[in-house]
């Protein structure tokens, strides 16, 4: 039980890297699609809705498999410069995670934008602030604050999602745990250690979000 700890801890680093990179890219994707959802152009709007519907309606495993196993099948795609990125399982996993969390994040941000009190925007307008600055300096910060609790849940879900990287040969925390289980055949002990590490990360994320919520609360 103790002997497996160093291996599992070094695998935790991989999990954390996967998580932070996918959250970073996912946040941009989410923000982009949330803005598209609020757009009055019906095509952009439908496109963004379709994106989030497809990515939220299918399992993450299918998405990773399509990107990792599926895209390599297209001859033309292999000759483009993108292939440098897509031939690595590491980047395929990150792209799949980012697209997935982007879909959920866009829904979270969209509802946050829609629940901003119109008075705040009107106040900005009556002070003669331009629409662009209202958007960047008022709407986005308020929306981020309002979506913090929901986004915290999404971070935890994404952390659990990174475990799927083990299905495309990456040795993350779950991948290493599975390897140790299948070689030592001690499922319960390894589950306790690996599960404990995951729980600890959940605990940290949960408290971090709580702290941020308090720090940026309106009162």
């Amino acid at each position: 039980m103790i002997t497996s700890l160093p291996k599992l801890l070094s695998a935790t680093v991989v999990t954390l890297k996967l998580l932070s990179l996918s959250l970073f890219f996912g946040l941009f994707i989410g923000l982009l699609f949330a803005i598209l959802r609020l757009n009055k152009n019906i095509f952009l709007n439908k496109f963004a809705y379709g994106y989030s519907y497809v990515f939220r309606g299918t399992p993450l495993l299918v998405q990773i498999f399509i990107i990792y196993f599926g895209l390599g099948q297209i001859e033309y795609f292999r000759s483009t410069f993108l292939w440098v990125v897509f031939k690595e399982p590491y980047w395929c996993a990150i792209i799949a995670f980012a697209l997935n969390t982007g879909a959920y994040t866009s829904e979270i941000l969209r509802s946050a934008f829609q629940t901003i009190k119109p008075g705040i925007i009107e106040a900005g307008k009556s002070l003669g602030i331009s629409n662009k600055i209202i958007f960047y300096k008022i709407q986005i910060p308020v929306a981020i604050r309002q979506s913090l609790p929901a986004y915290g849940n999404e971070i935890i879900l994404m952390m659990k999602g990174t475990s799927l990287a083990s299905t495309v040969t990456l040795m993350d925390l779950t991948g290493v745990a599975k390897y140790i289980i299948s070689t030592t055949f001690k499922p319960i002990e390894v589950f306790i250690v690996a599960g404990g590490i995951y729980l600890f990360m959940t605990f940290i994320i949960h408290n971090l979000i709580k702290f941020l919520e308090k720090k940026y609360s309106f009162n």
Binding site: G57, P59, V62, F69, I156, P187
Partner: protein, 230 residues
Amino acid sequence: MELLAFGKTGWGDELFIATLMTIAVSITAMLIGFLFALIFTPLKLSKNKILNFIGNSYTTVIRGVPELLVIYLFFFGGSGAVMFVASIFGYNDYIEINAFITGSFAIGIISGAYSTEVFRGAIQSIDKGQFEASQVLGLKRFAYFFRVIMPQMLRLAIPNLSNVWQITLKDTSLISVTGLVEIMRQSYIAAGSTRDPLFFYSFAAVLYLTLTFLSMKLINRLEIKYSRGF
């Protein structure tokens, strides 16, 4: 389209059966989840500190640990645990549990943690007066729970249970790692033998989308039915 033909030449019939398997596993897992919720919701609402702790640790641990890890625990540890219990009763032969039972149990435990949270929230948001009224009327505990609390709880729980159903349905794709032939596993086999992963995985995605879409429609109807008069 040839790839999807029914019969020996295509994968249509195999994928159809695999889809039925996904539905079967999801429903079994959801029902097992309800059983777990039925046990753990009262624990979470209990005033006894120890019972409360047991209820809380169940939902916290399961919701904080990746689904895949839970599945591996059951896949590698399941038959060992059953054999251990059987050996207490004096049965020492090797027992193998089939992938369907392992899988639906693993997903069921996960789904149960989410259902527990939903039921807890629903019970807590029922008006206090309802509890008091049934006490005043002298209803027996059983009648009070099944006749007064349960119907009201279900109405409040249905929208959130539909989320749990979606999570459960999508989680069943993870059972493919144990070798149970559901949509994901069948697509993996088909992709391997035809060397056409893009087509089969995209088709799997379409199947999942159809399932989520249809089940949403069905649940919306239930929601309308149960919220009559409100």
